[in-house]
């Protein structure tokens, strides 16, 4: 009878639920999640048998896929957590702070009314808009940018 299988599925699901709630080790908590998914798969196959079609079985295959992906990601996360701290206890990670880092000082969230005065430099030299000075070229620069000495011999020819 279908109700027998549904009771069986519900029992497996509830046992997985109780296991997830009571266990403290990370790996066994993920195994309890897998048990809950197994209970759902039992229900789906029972309904597929009852209705005489494939809907329940296809859905069950998709749940198997999701369960495999979830197990892979969960175990990758557990392995990375284990590298940080060699413990499988889920309660070790209840507090996300680290004991070696000092606590942060509380930051004041008040906004100052006026912006603080920015530092300024004393201006050096003359303001070109106020006291314009003609462009003064040094003698050496004038001599080097005059017609070149190499061409100066031929300048008379040209």
């Amino acid at each position: 009878m279908i109700s027998t299988m549904l009771v069986f599925g519900a029992a497996i699901f509830v046992i997985g639920l109780v296991g997830f709630l009571t266990r403290g080790s990370l790996i066994l908590m993920v195994l309890a999640l897998e048990t809950m998914l197994a209970g759902v798969i039992i229900n789906l196959v029972a309904f597929s048998n009852f209705h005489n079609n494939y809907q329940g079985q296809v859905w069950a295959i998709m749940i198997l896929t999701v369960a495999a992906c979830e197990a892979a990601i969960a175990l990758a996360l557990i392995v990375s957590l284990y590298r940080r701290k060699p413990s499988l206890d889920a309660h070790e990670w209840a507090q996300l702070g680290e004991s070696a880092v000092p606590p942060l000082e509380p930051v004041s969230l008040e906004v100052p009314a006026a912006p603080p005065p920015l530092p300024t430099l004393t201006p050096a030299g003359l303001d070109p808009l106020v006291d314009p000075q003609p462009l003064q070229v040094s003698d050496a620069l004038a001599a080097s940018t005059a017609p070149d000495a190499k061409h100066s011999q031929g300048a008379a020819d040209v």
């Binding site: 109780v18 296809v58 892979a72 392995v79």
Partner: protein
């Protein structure tokens, strides 16, 4: 509170009209006994080994009685026997303290579940579940256990997180679901239909049943299959990316 009292009055009236109280009382009593036994075992109240063995014997006796008195044929009795084996495995998973014993209890539960799939005509699903769940997933778990578990039981294994609350929650959920599912007229089928042969035809043989499932997956449920493939790819890439040991993390870890 008036809404609550109205609800209680309606439930009581419906219950008296439909004669549900004997069934509800039986279900509530059985579930309460199971939950109390679980809590007593986990909270350390029940320490006598003789009582624990008596409880296990009681569970086995209930299973034998249910299977022997089942009105169905051999297939139904096998199905119920496999259900009890699976429930026993799941209970072992929940009760045993050592992680390896718990993982093996889970493996027994999954294998019995696969047996029930074969009996219900879901041959491909039974084989696939056996390969994926009892094969790949449990082996991955055992690898990580071998990598991360110490030889002695750690305090995390021996300590339990509020077994009383978990037992109450589980008992309420289980009693509610069982009560609804075992109602007399929920599944409109005659006793002949209810205890029909389980390996009847979706298709005449197991091979054609698998062919039909494959055809359904690739025609009616094609989008679902493609999404499942994409999900698997994303999960693979994600798992590799998460578990890689990068240069800065290996420097900062002690």
């Amino acid at each position: 509170m008036t809404a609550l009292s109205v609800c209680v009055a309606q439930v009581t009236a419906a219950g008296q009209a439909a004669q549900v109280w004997p069934r509800a009382a039986v279900i509530a009593a059985v579930v309460a006994v199971a939950a109390t036994g679980y809590w007593a075992l986990q909270a350390g109240v029940l320490r006598s080994r003789a009582l624990v063995l008596a409880g296990i014997g009681l569970l086995g006796g209930v299973g034998v009685v249910v299977v022997v008195r089942s009105p169905g044929g051999l297939e139904h009795r096998l199905l119920e026997a496999l259900s009890f084996v699976a429930i026993t495995g799941a209970l072992a998973f929940v009760v045993l303290r050592g992680p390896v014993g718990a993982a093996l209890g889970f493996a027994i539960a999954v294998l019995a579940m696969c047996g029930s799939f074969f009996l219900q005509g879901a041959s491909f699903l039974g084989a696939a579940t056996m390969i994926v769940y009892a094969g790949a997933t449990i082996i991955i778990f055992l690898f990580v256990l071998m990598f991360a578990q110490r030889s002695r039981l750690q305090p995390v294994d021996l300590r339990l997180v509020r077994p009383a609350a978990a037992a109450i929650i589980g008992a309420v959920v289980l009693a509610a679901v069982v009560f609804i599912v075992t109602a007399p007229g929920v599944f409109a089928e005659s006793p002949d239909e209810a205890y029909r042969s389980l390996s009847r035809e979706l298709n005449p043989s197991s091979y054609e049943r698998v062919v039909g499932l494959g055809r359904a997956m690739l025609t009616d449920y094609l989008l679902t299959v493609e999404l499942a493939g994409a999900l698997l790819l994303v999960a693979t890439v994600g798992a590799i990316a998460i578990a890689q040991r990068t240069a800065d993390s290996s420097e900062t870890s002690s």
